[in-house]
Symmetry: C2
Subunit: 352 residues, 2 copies
DNA sequence: AATTAAGTTGAGAGCGCTCTCAAATTACAG
DNA sequence: CTGTAATTTGAGAGCGCTCTCAACTTAATT
C-alpha cells in the first residue's frame, strides 16, 4: 500500500498542498467548507503526514531519547529501571512523544553511540539516568548544549537540570523510624555507585546526630544495589551486632535478609530492616519490607515534562526538582527486643 | 552550534555534495586523495549526516519499534519484559538500529498510537510482544503488510513471523523431571493470557501421559503470571495435596512458595516446585527455584535479526523460530518423601 | 594511434513536508 | 462605489540528503 502525500490529498480535494497542510495543522483562515472537504478526504483515505519529512523542515522530531548507561544485564534484575522507563513512556504518551531507548553494553558503545545520538539530529532531547558515575559522558553532554534532563542527582549540579527524589530526607526518615523504635545500633548498607546512595547515608547520619547517637564506621557497609552485594555487605555487618539495618534499596535488602537468615537471625525479632524504593522486591520478600517509597513512575513522567520544557525553551535551564518520599511500614521492623542489644545500647547512650 | 551539511563539507574540501556523500557511504570509484581529503574535513569538523534527511530519501530510518501492550504497570514487576527489552536493545546496537519503545497504558492508546506508528513512516519494522491476547491489534498488523516479528507464539500463526521458546518441550521437561523424582500428584499453575502458558500445559500433559499418570483437573489452576495470582492458585491447589507443582513462571512460583509456607508446607520436603523462566526471582526465592531457563535475552536479539531480514526482504515471510530451553536444578525440588503422599500415588498408579 | 571501456566527478531532480510571499477574493469603512 | 484591510489560497523555495545521468578523465585493447 503506497503512502499518500500531501500533494495527492490536495489533488483529491481540489486544493493545493499548502491548504491541506493548513487543515492538518489547524491554521485559522480557511473557509469552513474547504476545511471540511479536505478533512473528509483525509479521513476517507486514512492519510497520515510523513513525520520524517515534517521533521526535516521543522527540526522537531518529537522523539526523545532515554539513555541507560552500560551494565544493562545487572540493571534489569532491579525493577527500578523498568519502572522508570514505564513512567517515562507514560509521559511520552501523554505528550505525543516517541521514546527511543539506548541501552549500552559497554563504555565504548556509550562513547560511540553517544555522539551518534546527538549528532544525527534525530532526537529533540535526552533523559539520562545516573545509574553509575560517568564523568566523560556527563561532560560531553554538558558541552553540547543539547536539552538533557538527568534522572538522579549528578555530582556536579551547577549547570544541570535534573530530577530526583529527596534522598537525604528519605535516609533521615528511615533512620528516624528505627531510632524511634528504640534502636541505637543501626547499621547502613549504602553505595558509592551514584550520589543517591550517598545522600541516603547523609540523611541517616543527620538522624543519628539529632538523636545523639554517635556515628560508627563499623556499622557502615557498601554495595552496588545488587542482591549479592547486599548479601555480602550484611555478612560483614553481622559481627558488629546491629539491632537494625537501613539498606538503601530493596534488592540489597533481599540480600540482607538472606544473610541474616543464614546467620540464624530473625527479622524483625533480632534485627529490623528498613529498605528503600518500595518496588516489587519489597513485597516479594519474607517478611515484607518496611521501606521508603519513592515515586519512580512519577519521576519518569516528570522528567519528560521537564525535558519538554527545555526543548520548547519555556523553562529555565539549570532546574533542580526533588520529589518527596514516604515511609511504608511492613513486617521487617519492630522495637528493640534483645536484652544483650539493649544493654549495649544503654552503654552507648551513657557514653555520649 | 549550527549543524554542518553535506554541501558545506563539500565546499570546505573543494568537491561537490555528491562526492562527499560517496565518501560517507563508501562508494567505490573515488580517487584516494579526494577520499582522504574529504574524510579529513569530516573528522576535523565532526560532521554527522542528518539521519532525518537521509531517511526521507532512502525510506529507511533504521529505527524499529517495540510494542508492549497495555498493563504496563503489572508487566514490570516481572523481569521478563525488561530482560527481553535488553536483548532487543543489544540486537539493535549490534545492527546499528535505534529502538523506539511503545508502552501502552490502555487499549485506546493502542488503537490510536498504533495507526500513528505504522502510518507515519518513521519506523522500518515492529517487534510485538504477545503479552496478552489482542486480536484487533493482531489483525490490523497482519493486514498492513508491515514488517512485524512477534515475540511469543500468537494464536494464529498461519501468516505470522514469530520467535518463541519451545514451550511444549519446556513444560514436558519440567513435568518429566518431577515424574522422574517419583512424583505422581503433580499440580500445574498455568495461564490463559497467552499461548505460552497453554503450550507449557500441553507439554506437562504429554509427560504425564507418557508416564501413564492420569491427568487430573483438580490439579490444574490458572493465574496471570503475577505473584498474587500464583499465591491464590496455589491456595486452591493445596487441598488436593499435590506432592509437586509446576508453576509456569518464576513470579507465580514466588506466590506459590508463600502460599505453601503459610499452609505450613515445606519446600521441597513436602512439596516440590518447578518453575519457568529462570529470571531474577528464581534466585531471589527461598529456597532458590528449580526452573526451566528460557533464553529471554537471546529471544530479543534474534527477534531483531529476524525483523531485519524481513525489512531487507532477504528472508521469507512466514517464519517460525523456536528456541530451546533447559532445566536448571536448584533447591526447590526433591524426591517424594511423605508416606501419605506415596500411598496416594501408589493407589493412583494401581488405578491406571 | 585510435577506439573502447572503465573510473571519477558534478549538476540537478526529488523525497514530503512547512512556510513565506504575493495574488486573489471578500469584508468593511468612508 | 471606491479604498483599505482582512481573509483565503497557491506558487515556490528549501530542509539535507541520495541517486541518476551525463560529462570528463584515465586506462586498456587492438
Amino acid at each position: 500500500m503506497k503512502r499518500l502525500t500531501l500533494e495527492e490529498i490536495g489533488k483529491l480535494s481540489g486544493v493545493s498542498r499548502a491548504t491541506v497542510s493548513r487543515v492538518i495543522n489547524n491554521y485559522p483562515h480557511i473557509r469552513p467548507e474547504i476545511r471540511e472537504r479536505v478533512q473528509t478526504i483525509i479521513d476517507q483515505t486514512g492519510y497520515k503526514p510523513n513525520v520524517v519529512a515534517r521533521t526535516l523542515v521543522s527540526n522537531r522530531s518529537n522523539i526523545i531519547g532515554l539513555i541507560i548507561p552500560s551494565v544493562v544485564q545487572q540493571v534489569f534484575s532491579d525493577p527500578y529501571f523498568p519502572t522508570l522507563i514505564s513512567g517515562i513512556a507514560r509521559g511520552c504518551n501523554a505528550n505525543n512523544l516517541v521514546l527511543s531507548l539506548y541501552l549500552f553494553d559497554s563504555l565504548e558503545d556509550e562513547r560511540n553511540l553517544f555522539q551518534a545520538i546527538i549528532g544525527t539530529g534525530l532526537i529533540d532531547g535526552l533523559i539520562v539516568t545516573t545509574a553509575r558515575r560517568n564523568q566523560e559522558m556527563f561532560d560531553t553532554l554538558q558541552e553540547s548544549g543539547f536539552p538533557v534532563v538527568f534522572v538522579g542527582e549528578p555530582d556536579d549540579i551547577a549547570k544541570t537540570t535534573f530530577i530526583d527524589i529527596d534522598n537525604i530526607t528519605g535516609g533521615y526518615t528511615a533512620a528516624q523510624y528505627l531510632l524511634e523504635l528504640g534502636h541505637r545500633r543501626i547499621a547502613i548498607i549504602s553505595t558509592h555507585i551514584n550520589r543517591s546512595g550517598e545522600s541516603r547515608l547523609e540523611g541517616y547520619r543527620k538522624a543519628l546526630h539529632e538523636y545523639g547517637v554517635p556515628f560508627d564506621d563499623h556499622l557502615v557497609a557498601y554495595g552496588d544495589f545488587s542482591l549479592d552485594s547486599g548479601y555480602s555487605a550484611m555478612q560483614s555487618l553481622i559481627p558488629h551486632q546491629p539491632s537494625a539495618v537501613f539498606v538503601t534499596n530493596d534488592l540489597m535488602a533481599l540480600g540482607s535478609l538472606r544473610a541474616l537468615r543464614e546467620a540464624g537471625l530473625r527479622v524483625p525479632e533480632d534485627v529490623s530492616v528498613v529498605s528503600f524504593d518500595d518496588l516489587s522486591p519489597a513485597t516479594q520478600a519474607d517478611p515484607q519490607l518496611t521501606t521508603i517509597r519513592q515515586p519512580v513512575q512519577q519521576t519518569g513522567k516528570d522528567a519528560v515534562t521537564m525535558l519538554l520544557g527545555l526543548i520548547n525553551g519555556d523553562v529555565q535551564h539549570p532546574q533542580h526538582v526533588f520529589l518527596p518520599n514516604e515511609l511504608i511500614v511492613r513486617a521487617s521492623t519492630g522495637a528493640v527486643r534483645s536484652k544483650s542489644f539493649r544493654k549495649q545500647q544503654e552503654a552507648l547512650d551513657k557514653g555520649c
